[in-house]
């Protein structure tokens, strides 16, 4: 990535009462990228996000947004941030529209047209004049998104954004995030406990544990691992197992339920298939088994619970 990062966390540390909550964390976020933020319960995700938006002060280190130091140039840097921190808490006794007017006034110059446009974008036109009290969780999420993008920020932080959305809503939301990232070059930072969601939504994933960043990598990363696990469903498991042993020697192979699990390079899978057929074994299925993000995550964090 040659572009300048929109957000830079430089060695940020947060201590509360002598306890180190965030330990020397550095992270760059680039325009047009959707970055996922994962970590077990209490790892410091929310604290990190709070420091990125100035709700909490860093003990040491620097948060830079759009080239400005958050500490010294709060107004200029925060003007480029849109956020939902945890649940989108709104003024329940006001309508969705009044809530947006409220946030627009805080943001500065935002026209009525812009508010209308955003309401349309998040699909709340029919209910925007109802009190937020009467909104479902999904509608509140939509309103939360609306207030976050009202001022067209360069950087969008979303904490558990799909919580409460139905499958269609989640899909729509995902498409929308991808769209503003690619078309408008917005840098998006999403924390979620739904690992499969993060996998579908994000270009990059940052994993935090006990206040330390333990991994940053692209979602496609696991494909680069040349060896993959393939599951073969064959007519004669024992014979097939013997054939693999004889022909490939040191390869990992095991019988899992009614399938044979073999770790191979891509080209080898075709060869194995050919040998099976030549030896009179019928092959019903060959499934490349990709390690899920969840499995990787659990490996990395030592099986701690994720939220």
């Amino acid at each position: 990535m040659n572009e300048q990062p929109v957000v830079q966390l430089k060695n940020i540390t947060k201590k509360i009462g002598g306890k180190t909550i965030i330990d020397d964390l550095s992270l760059d976020l680039y325009p047009g990228q959707v970055t996922g933020f994962l970590g077990p319960n209490g790892a410091g995700k929310t604290t990190t996000i709070r420091m990125m938006v100035g709700l909490m002060k860093v003990t040491s280190g620097e948060v830079m947004i759009d080239g400005y130091k958050l500490k010294d140039n709060y107004r200029k840097s925060i003007a480029q941030v849109g956020a939902i921190v945890e649940n989108p808490e709104m003024y329940k006794f006001m309508s969705g529209y009044q809530n947006l007017v409220h946030f627009a006034r805080l943001q500065g110059n935002i026209s009525k047209e812009r508010i209308k446009e955003v309401v349309k974008q998040v699909g709340l036109e029919s209910r925007i004049h109802d009190k937020v009290q009467a909104y479902s969780l999904g509608m509140r999420q939509r309103l939360g998104l609306a207030q976050a993008i009202l001022h067209k920020p360069k950087f969008l932080i979303l904490d558990e954004p799909t919580n409460g959305l139905d499958p269609a809503g989640i899909r729509e939301f995902r498409m929308y995030l991808r769209k503003i990232a690619t078309e408008d070059g917005v840098s998006v930072f999403v924390s979620s406990h739904l690992l499969s969601e993060i996998e579908l939504m994000c270009d990059r994933i940052a994993i935090i544990q006990q206040g330390k960043l333990i991994s940053i990598r692209s979602v496609q990363g696991s494909d680069q691992d040349k060896r993959k696990t393939f599951l073969f469903k064959v007519s004669d498991k024992e014979k097939a197992w013997q054939i693999v042993r004889d022909n490939f020697g040191d390869i990992e192979v095991e019988v899992v339920n009614d399938r044979l699990m073999i770790k191979l390079e891509k080209e080898q899978s075709a060869k194995v298939n050919r040998i099976f057929i030549e030896s009179g074994i019928d092959v019903y299925e060959i499934i490349p088994h990709k390690k899920t993000l969840e499995e990787e995550f659990l490996e990395m964090t030592g099986g701690e619970q994720i939220v």
Binding site: R50, L55, K76, I78, I84, V85, Y91, F93, V101, L106
Partner: protein, 314 residues
Amino acid sequence: MSEMIRLIRNEWMKIFKRNSTFILIAILIGAVFLFAFVSSWSSNQQSQTMPWEEQVSQQMSVYEQQEAQSENMHEKNYYQDQAAIARHRLENDIPPPQHTSFIQYLLDSKSNITFAVLFTVIIASGIVASEFAWGTIKLLTIRPVRRGKILWAKYITTLLFSLTLAIITYLGAIIGGLVFLEKGDGVLLTMVEDHIVEQSVWIESLRLYGLAFVNMIIMTSFAFMIGTLSRSNALAIGLSIFLMFTGQQLVFLFQEYTFVKFYLFTHTDLSQYLQPKPMIEGISPLFSVTVLMLYLFVFLLISHLSFTKRDIAT
């Protein structure tokens, strides 16, 4: 500046989009009208037993006695003036406002301000604390507006709200009085530089309400500070109302000690200087105003530091 106005409009909207605000105002208006009704009812119960001339001449002799016993100049002057006014009434046949008249009722109605203070304290306690309770504080503060400015907008809004309630109380008392009470033929007299002049009921009542409003500002600011500091609505309301009702009792409890001169509630009721004696010896209006200003400054400084420096972690 226009940013400040936008922020104040936001805070105003958040107060007036809540039904509870209208319930408070309705209760306030109800209480004010009830006061007017009870005043008229009780005045009908008391039949006039004594002609006013007799009353005033009795009062005059009491004032003259008091004047002779006075220990300081302020007290002496007060009784001297009162006796002179009484004499003037008798000589020129000018009756004082009767207990049952609109004039006396309107002056007494300043005690209604207590309700307005109570309700303003509720709003002042919650204006910061509720944002924490609702969780909206996060979305409120991550904006290109300095936190201090948001706090000031909230404080100014609280003062505007208390002014609104004070005006409602005053206007309500006037309307209630016009509906329930008879005008009566009494006249207010006052001493201006050795001359006895007629005093308008409007000026006199506004003066009393104005002094009560000072107390309102102090209580409002106190509640605002506790709400900002503790981030808890209930604590701020509870503590403020508790002090509202017990604060002045403590003045009498501590009157032997010198620190009582610097105690907040020795000074909150500025109408004490319209009486012959202030609550304790050795205080003056200027001293009281200085002490009140110092308290106000400290309240606002604590609120400001607490709101701008502390992490938001709820």
